[in-house]
Amino acid sequence: MSHRSDSRGGLGPRAPAHVFAALGDETRLRLVRKLCGGKPRSISQLTAGSRLTRQAITKHLRVLESARIVRCVRAGRESLFQFNPQPMEELKDYLDFVSEQWDQALARLKSFVES
């Protein structure tokens, strides 16, 4: 165990299962691909070229928004969606944390069986 702690009182970062769940869909991945360049886009722009209705696209955007992968910004009367890299960074921190815990546990196992 590491001494590292986070604001939620746990030992380490939380499994970002909701992030994975949000990404586990073809349409939402396509939306992320359109947005990950950094430029905010409107629902109309994101619907263009898709077989899906504006309503369906909006629904998918809300799922991404609830996982914080995108955020909604207002530009006058229009809603624009923008990519937020933070959840993916948290995922990296999480895997890093789990990996580090294993390094420590296996080092203890090594001295335990070799002594």
């Binding site: 165990m1 001494h3 939620r8 009182g9 746990g10 030992l11 380490g12 939380r14 499994a15 299962a17 994975f20 769940a21 990404l23 586990g24 869909d25 073809e26 991945l29 992320v32 691909r33 947005l35 990950c36 360049g37 950094g38 990519f83 890299p85 993916m88 960074e89 995922l91 990296k92 895997l95 890093d96 944390f97 789990v98 990996s99 815990q101 294993w102 390094d103 546990a105 296996l106 203890r108 196992l109 090594k110 001295s111 335990f112 069986v113 070799e114």
Partner: protein, 150 residues
């Protein structure tokens, strides 16, 4: 992209010794720093609490999957799901596998932890080919982290 953690350790101990350290619940607790309530039994839950100083209030729980003597020990769990206020049971557990192999110097232990993400591989690959945006950069970072370190 590999979505798993893999560690390889050469142990200067006979395979039978390593097997015992992994699968005897008291010995497991010694190095894993957890006090378990009972032995590991395939298909059953093993519970306990962490013994690392300062974290004794935290629970430990895993479901044993396979015990193939001196070859494979595996369990599923919610890795480091340590916040007592969060219900982890709704989240998909990861699979931890300890594989043993006899070597001239003792035992090779290969540990893998997999299932961190459930995106089907074709979608993952698609995601991975994304243009030079922030997200594809993050995916590369993750790949670096989950690539086995020797």
């Amino acid at each position: 992209m590999e979505n798993q953690i893999e560690k390889r350790v050469e142990l200067k101990a006979p395979i039978s010794r390593v097997w015992r350290a992994l699968t005897d619940y008291r010995e497991f607790g010694e190095w894993f720093l957890v006090k378990l309530e009972g032995p590991f039994v395939p298909g059953q839950v093993t519970r306990g609490h962490i013994t690392y100083p300062g974290y004794e209030h935290l629970k430990w729980e895993a479901v044993v999957q396979k015990m193939e003597p001196e070859r494979l020990f595996s369990f599923t769990w919610h890795p480091y799901s340590v916040d007592p206020k969060i219900d982890y049971s709704k989240e998909t557990p990861t699979l931890v596998e300890f594989r043993l192999e006899e070597t001239p110097g003792g035992t090779l232990l290969v540990l893998t932890e997999s299932g961190f993400e459930k995106i089907p591989s074709h979608r993952r690959d698609e995601a991975y080919r994304m243009n030079e945006g922030g997200w594809s950069e993050q995916m590369k970072n993750i790949e670096r982290y989950v690539t086995p370190k020797r």
